[in-house]
């Protein structure tokens, strides 16, 4: 990243985009009555985009800021669960990307499933019950579907939205080349 100001501006931009997407999601009706906590995870498209173009650290910053701000805006009750989900999801996605074995679709799928796992783990710890694993199955089933969908969306985004390449090369050139080809 060239300057601090540029970094801050980009971070704010991506965080705002992620927040807007999370908000739009709350306006959509619940997908199924089996597990009403299910969400599409649109904000993850932004995190994946940033992960590919600017690296894991910057993606972590954007994701963390999004979780904190949405906690402040929409109620802090869900904060520990989203924080745990987001953290685990980011680690999984960074590792998946680093392995260079998967495209953004595989990365997103791993991110969705680990997000669910993180939320359930946080809930088990905080609620002191170990029986919540029963909730993981419907969440994982939905997460698999939404994860692939979000992954396809992110691939399209990475293919058609230009920019970000030069910072990337400057920062970690050897690990570098994004999945956009050429």
């Amino acid at each position: 990243m060239r300057t601090k100001a540029r970094r801050a501006a980009l971070g704010g931009l991506f965080t705002a985009a992620a927040l807007i997407l999370s908000f739009i999601e709350t306006l959509l009706p619940p997908v199924t009555a089996a597990a009403p906590g299910i969400k599409l995870g649109l904000a993850n498209t932004v995190v994946i985009f940033v992960l590919y173009r600017y690296g894991a650290k910057f993606a972590a910053a954007v994701s963390g800021a999004r979780v904190l701000i949405s906690g402040l805006l929409f109620g802090a009750a869900a904060l520990p669960y989203s924080a745990a989900g987001a953290a685990l999801s980011l680690c999984a996605m960074a590792l998946m990307k680093k392995s260079r074995q998967f495209s953004a679709v595989g990365v997103s799928l791993a991110g969705a499933l680990s997000h669910n796992a993180g939320q359930i783990l946080a809930a088990m710890l905080l609620l002191g019950r170990n029986q919540l694993y029963g909730y993981f199955l419907p969440l994982a089933a939905a997460g698999a579907v939404t994860g692939v969908f979000i992954g396809i969306l992110s691939s399209l985004l990475l293919r058609f939205v230009p920019g970000g390449g030069e910072e990337k090369k400057e920062k970690d050139a050897p690990a570098g080349k994004p999945g956009t080809g050429e």
């Binding site: 009555a33 074995q101 495209s103 905080l126 029986q131 692939v148």
Partner: protein, 126 residues
């Protein structure tokens, strides 16, 4: 060629996940047993246990204030009313099989269906 490899790995991963989820669901369906009671936990502590064979309506106080109304009707348990922000618990469909749960994260209220013989569905459930 790099691209083809990642796409192939993606497809393998998707198939593996789909298979695992389907297998787990089939297994759960095969093994599920109707529960004996709905046990309500507030902030990790047992608040009340309601047998599923008698209809009931219980107002459960949430951990940080607020309430959730648990209704037992026709052998099923559900949350009919709550003043939590997201109301996910109210939207959750009724539960009746051992191990099923309804959770209200904001109020830290969990409803767990436990098997007829008193104990939980876990090996280590006290």
């Amino acid at each position: 060629m790099k691209r083809n490899k990642t796409v192939r790995n993606d497809i393998l991963l998707i198939c593996a996940v789909a298979l695992a989820v389907t297998a787990a669901m089939l297994l759960w369906r095969a093994l599920r047993a109707e529960g004996g009671s709905a046990v309500v936990y507030v902030d990790g502590r047992e608040y009340i246990s309601c047998p599923l064979d008698s209809d009931a309506r219980v107002t459960v106080p949430g951990a940080g204030g607020g309430f959730n109304v648990l209704v037992i009707r026709g052998g099923e348990a559900y949350i009919s009313e709550a003043d939590c922000p997201n109301r996910i618990c109210v939207k959750h469909r009724p539960v009746k099989y051992a191990g099923q749960t309804i959770t209200c994260l904001p109020h830290r209220v969990t409803v767990v269906i436990e098997s007829a013989r008193g104990g939980g569905t876990d090996v280590d459930a006290g």
